[in-house]
Symmetry: C2
Subunit: 435 residues, 2 copies
């Protein structure tokens, strides 16, 4: 389990002054990674590190030979157009680079990185990695229960839920980075009272508020990753919107799971917050006494003590009317990743217990992170009680599901006394009318 | 729809004499693609084309500038260590290269390719493409019905089956090429009469006999591929063994589908038979009159006339005892891809109707291709009636499910009067004991 070290010191300040603002997502204690280039340019994409309102251009850092040893190797990997090779190097390299950047960006350092900075508002992002395989989990018991009630009123939470970290494979080709716009999907749907299905644009388009998890170092096929080794294989977290077509899903999902209801688009935030940056926000993982104890491969003292993460999550909606009137996006839900019934380490241990091999850059969705309260639900399906009770926005507009032109914005951050704020930035994406 | 042309002429013969044998899988009318190198060498993998008992080394063809125009461009792409770029070029390039190779390998040609040949028994194979996304379909109604009976006795064939070409996403990282050996997976299982699940090696390990389908040219996100355009996006077919852990599957698969029961290993045959080579074996696609007519996006005259493929499929088992005694592998099942309830074109049209984007090298499994007769079942689950009735092999051994050391071999071929035999070679892989 990752220890706190000097890079987490709440008193550290950066010579990049915006990094020292109280509400900044990217203080010197964070240092998340993305892949970027100057907006509208045809430059090669390369890795960058966020500091305040600036991006450290890792290609430029690598070029200038500002670092040595493991840090130089890590920086060279970060200079590539995807972070897969950097991710493959494991925690040791990511940690060495983090320390070097922390030292170089601190108040009092020599500002050798100054000519490597590009203002964040002048960049655009790409996917930070080639995602080989994407797996979506289902780790919020609150989401599983309330969605289960809608799909299977008599049988909401299936008997395997408290034993198995339920997951299924998703589509990587349609994962895009924040800013993604996508067409409302068309497909087959069947009204409960209809004799036959019909075809047309999805009428129950929804978002899902998830954490995204990037795998770092992989494992060989046949070799399970043990629970207490899982951290060694997790590169970091981002925000993730797993767009969902509820009416398509209801008709297609049995017996083999969601397919076209999910694979038309999914959106990640550009910045990946490393596991090390999140160390101060680890939290105890607990179960109700009445819940079954996990099987041995999903159980350890370290996972009990600090397997969870205390990450605040928020969903905002910006409707075409709000855009036209210039009113800000409105929050519709607040939740927290600590409510997850299964930890990230348990996801990794479960996914590999059968010998399945992970590759650097592989991606997990956590599943929709609904909290225990109704208002903490991570999807409109839940907030609107299956489309029966529209939510009313401050400007009087109502939504049961998403309309064309709606933009969904998700934010995430960690705050507590005695630690620096660690922010995720945001992921925003917009529904276009069906083709 | 692909027309027959001179490359299909049954009377064509090659100066590679083994290609002219009646039972040869790789006559001059076939010309399938693989990625290979000399066995045991550290040569770079590159594309190759099968002819008789030889492999045409496409890197050598490209080097020697033996082709011109589109054929030269295609050959250069084939010389790469994966065929993704060649696949992305589309039918026009694959077809031009096929014609050029057909002409160069014919009896009477100048044998300029002679120094590009490597005996097939001296090569080893790699995956022919980087598979970005792998989707497994479920297109055999015979399989769906008999497996449905075992998992849901009261509800075998779900109401969506005859409307929706059911599919789900699979794991690409654990797909290997023929020769793959893998550890028996471990996982959670729950006996029907047990109060709680238990953990251990899979006790109901099974194969699934499938066709594999490689996507050629992709589509942009948001743009559906129309049924009658689907052929333009299909590169070719191979044999595919979708290994399955039935006991793990039964406990985990609800509500989101199979996961660890499938993602520990899947095996493809090395050779990809192109859609053009299969043109003589297209077959009419029919439905029972009592079945619902397909929705318009899944219906066309061309698909009715020739959407199916007449491909014989066979499963053989080679047990450790057979290996020790030197007796040949024994056939346990014969089936045919023409029984598929949905065509490959319908799979493509359905997968993209919501705007989902395909990339060159993406892969579909057809789903287990069980025929209408019990003996044509494509899995042991079906042949043994859910493990209740072991099958007896000629040497007296019995199997309900697979044992450690068992090798499963799948073969595929097309034969008919007036056309050349088109073979797929085989896919073989072996179960190792659990870790």
């Amino acid at each position: 389990m990752m220890q706190l070290n000097e890079t987490h010191d709440v008193n550290l300040r950066s010579w990049v002054s915006a990094a020292n603002e109280a509400d900044c997502d990217f203080p010197i204690q964070n240092l998340p990674f993305a892949v970027f280039r100057r907006k509208g340019s045809d430059e090669a994409f390369r890795g960058g590190v966020a500091i305040g309102d600036q991006v450290v251009d890792m290609a430029r850092v690598a070029e200038q030979n500002l670092l040595t040893g493991k840090c130089a190797e890590a920086a060279a990997a970060c200079a590539e157009p995807t972070l897969n090779r950097f991710m493959s190097m494991g925690q040791e390299y990511a940690s060495a680079l983090r320390l070097a950047l922390s030292m170089a960006l601190r108040e009092g350092a020599d500002r050798a990185l100054e000519n490597c900075l590009i203002p964040m508002d002048q960049v655009e992002y790409d996917l930070p990695a080639v995602i080989g395989d994407y797996t979506d989990f289902y780790t919020s018991i609150h989401h599983a229960t309330s969605v289960g009630k809608l799909f299977r009123p008599d049988n909401p939470l299936l008997p395997n839920y408290k034993w198995v970290p339920i997951g299924y494979h998703g589509r990587s080709s349609s994962i895009g980075v924040s800013g993604q716009e996508f067409r409302r999907p068309k497909g087959q749907t069947k009204a409960p009272d209809a004799a036959e299905p019909s075809f047309g644009p999805c009428k129950r388009l929804d978002y899902e508020l998830e954490m995204g998890i990037y795998i770092g170092k992989g494992n060989a096929m046949g070799d399970a990753i043990e629970l207490d080794q899982a951290d060694e294989h997790v590169f970091g977290f981002c925000l993730f919107n797993d767009w969902s077509a509820r009416d398509i899903q209801a008709w297609e999902y049995q017996p083999l799971g969601p397919f076209l209801a999910k694979n038309f688009a999914s959106t990640v935030s550009p910045w990946i917050v490393t596991l090390e940056a999140l160390a101060p926000y680890r939290a105890a993982w607990t179960r109700d006494e009445s819940d079954p104890q996990p099987m041995p491969y999903l159980e350890s003292d370290a996972n009990r003590a600090a397997g969870a993460f205390d990450i605040e999550l928020e969903v905002l909606i910006e409707t075409p009317k709000m855009k036209a009137e210039g009113t800000p996006a409105q929050s519709v839900s607040l939740s927290n990743f600590r409510h997850s019934y299964w930890t990230v380490a348990q996801m990794v241990a479960h996914h590999t217990v059968n010998g399945c091999n992970m590759k650097p850059g592989d991606f997990f969705g956590s599943g929709t992170q609904s909290g225990p309260e109704h208002k903490e639900a991570g999807s409109l399906l839940e907030l609107s009680n299956g489309g029966k009770q529209p939510i009313t926005l401050a400007n009087g507009e109502q939504r049961t599901f998403l309309e064309d032109g709606d933009t969904i914005i998700m934010k995430g951050w960690c705050v507590k006394e005695g630690a620096a704020r660690i922010g995720f930035g945001h992921v925003a994406s917009t529904v276009l009318p069906a083709n």
